[in-house]
Subunit: 132 residues, 2 copies
C-alpha cells in the first residue's frame, strides 16, 4: 500500500474510533490498540502499559464521556517501513466545556497487514489557552 | 545493532540532550531532531513542524531554562525495523517548582545509521497531581 493510502486508512480508522469515543464507547480504540500499547494522558501519573490495562481503564469510563462536537485540526500521518505516526490537534466540547488537545498515535503494521496503535499520547494545551 | 543496544544508545543520547537542556542549552535536542520533526508541548496551541521552526523556538528560550534536578522514570524503548519509541515520565524541579511530565520521542533510523527524533510530545500531568 502506498503512503497516501496508509494515511487515508489511518485517518478513517481514527475518525471511527473517535466518534464512538465521543458517544461514550471506548471499543473503537480498544479494537485498534496493539497488545503492547503504551499510553499517556494528563489524568494518570504514570504511563499505562499493555492492552489489558487499557481495557480496565477504558471500561471504567464506558458511557461516561459525552462529546457534543469535535474538530480534527491539521492531521498529519508520517509513514515509513512498518510505522505510521498520526498527529493532530483536537478541539472539542464536552458538556459545554471546550478542550484543546494534542494527540499522538504511533501505529505499527502487523503481519496480517492491519495497522495498530502501539503508543498513544493525549495531552491538554495549557489552561490559559483553553479558556480563550 | 540489536534492540537492546539501540535502546541503550537512545537512552544515553536522551540523557545528554536533557542535561544540556536543564542547563539552558537546547542544542542537544536540535542535534538529534530529524529534519521532518513534529513537536507538541502544552505551551503551543498548534503542532510545530520541521527542524527550522524548532530551531526558532528553541533559540528563543536559550539560556532561560534552569532545572536543578530531574528523574527519568520508567523509560521504555520499543524498537522495530527503522523505528524506536522512547517513552518516560520526567519529574523535575525548575527554580524550586516541581513538574511532572509525560514524554514521547519517536525515533527514525537514517541511512547513515544514526537515530533521529521525528516526533516529540511533551505534556504536563494535571495540576492536581503536580501539586501533590
Amino acid at each position: 500500500m502506498d503512503k497516501e493510502s496508509v494515511a487515508k486508512a489511518i485517518l478513517a480508522q481514527e475518525k471511527t474510533a473517535l466518534e464512538a469515543w465521543n458517544a461514550g464507547n471506548p471499543s473503537g480504540y480498544l479494537e485498534i490498540y496493539h497488545p503492547d500499547i503504551t499510553y499517556f494522558d494528563p489524568m494518570h501519573q504514570k504511563r499505562i502499559d499493555g492492552w489489558k490495562n487499557m481495557q480496565v481503564y477504558y471500561e471504567s469510563i464506558r458511557g461516561k464521556i459525552k462529546v457534543e462536537q469535535y474538530e480534527i485540526i491539521d492531521p498529519q500521518v508520517e509513514v515509513w517501513e512498518e510505522t505510521a505516526v498520526l498527529t493532530y490537534n483536537l478541539f472539542c466540547t464536552s458538556e459545554g466545556v471546550p478542550y484543546h488537545w494534542n494527540c499522538t498515535e504511533v501505529y505499527r503494521l502487523l503481519a496480517d497487514k492491519t495497522w495498530k496503535i502501539i503508543h498513544n499520547h493525549w495531552s491538554l494545551i495549557q489552561p490559559a489557552v483553553e479558556s480563550n
